[in-house]
Symmetry: C2
Subunit: 217 residues, 2 copies
DNA sequence: GTAAAAACCGTACCGTCATACGGTTATCCG
DNA sequence: CGGATAACCGTATGACGGTACGGTTTTTAC
């Protein structure tokens, strides 16, 4: 039997290298050779794990999409487990998309770069669409759940609301990225909180009838 | 004296060709040779008008940015001249960014493609930032003007409101582009109108005390 | 030990593209 | 008319990058 290696782990390493390169120097700077060098392996090995460069990029994009969705999922799950007000939970979920620090800024650059290329790469576009769909579904579910405990008006349609919330988050992300210092004297962080919370306030118009405090409090 | 040519017109033609290529096949498909062919001229001539490819792309991006700003400006000007309700005027301005038809979809693809490359091209980034700034300023001015005739609460800060409005428009544009058919049964056009108007309703909370009808009515 | 199979390496090849450059054509002024 | 100058053309060139490919090393089962 031949020597073995952790296939998924290798692919993850390569995806990591791709993301690092994109975040630091842009998608155009991603070459197979540079990726291999960044990942600390040879060109041939990268080829061993990905038949083509496109496939490599696709896998990288899928990886970041999955990571983002997982983070959102996790926050929602933790929030509902701890019976926190949904408006608070969603506020944090949405703020996650806004590039207020280095980490989120790097992630923003990566997703934007891929989204840009996705304009003419159907495989990448599908990942983009699917990621957005799932996040929107999460938000819609959050709004729907809000009805059960009275945070949301019973006759509100969750889908347009979810579209609005996601739109504000993504649009705000664009603006904060362009103007990291904020707008007209208002720092970016304050602006983000203000805009997101104002938006959430139009959806979550009531307070939860049940337990809204922290579990340990 | 030598033979003459309309310098600006030639550069406009080239920018046009670049935009067509970007809209149809993406920014990666833009080569100097292809651009020249699309514009119906030789490679050498393109070089005659632009020292480098980067300069060519920069000029193209500047051109589309200026066109977009001009359209927004024009709508606002026409609206205020005709004394139409500001909420209506801004609704149309914001909808202008949402890719609901072929024209806007093509423009969206162009701006997104350039914005993507702008992530690692400072010159392009500056155009992107400046364009967004001016549009936001227009919106803020609109909100501010709304105070004078009572459409907007006097104590509302126009800047966060402008950020919100632009964020919704840009974010909605992303979602409509990804899901041109709409979301969960709601067609894109209806969704756009609903989201934008809902958003405007949170800013323009009053009705104009003065003349709000059409001038000819 | 050894054979097989996979993991891994380095390079050669080929196409593409931006740019440089020498040459040609058209126009205008004197 | 003529020459000067800009408009315009076509190609050569050099760099770069994706992929094909042959070779080497390592591990494991028998």
């Amino acid at each position: 039997m031949p020597r073995t290696a952790d296939h998924d782990e290798r692919r993850r390493q390569i995806a990591e290298a791709v993301c690092a390169l994109v975040a630091d120097h842009g998608l155009d700077a991603v070459t197979v050779a540079r990726t291999a060098a960044t990942a600390g392996m040879s060109v041939g090995l990268v080829q061993h794990y990905f038949r083509s460069k496109d496939e490599m990029l696709l896998h990288a994009f899928r990886t970041v999409g999955a990571r983002i969705r997982a983070r959102a999922d996790e926050r929602v799950r933790a929030g509902t487990d701890h019976r926190r007000p949904l408006a608070r939970v969603l506020s944090e979920v949405l703020a996650e998309f806004v590039p207020l620090d280095g980490t989120r800024r790097a992630e923003f650059r990566v997703t934007r770069a891929f989204a840009g290329r996705a304009l003419d790469a159907p495989a990448l576009a599908e990942v983009d669409v699917e990621t957005a769909r799932l996040i929107r579904a999460d938000l819609a579910r959050g709004v729907h759940n809000g009805k059960e405990c009275g945070e949301v008006a019973p006759d509100l349609d969750p889908w347009p609301a979810a579209v609005r919330l996601l739109a504000v988050a993504e649009g705000l992300a664009l603006q904060v990225y362009r103007d990291p210092g904020g707008v007209e004297g208002t720092p970016a962080a304050e602006l983000t909180a203000a805009v997101i919370d104002a938006e959430l306030a139009t959806v979550f118009t009531g307070t939860c009838r049940q337990y809204t405090g922290r579990p340990g409090a």
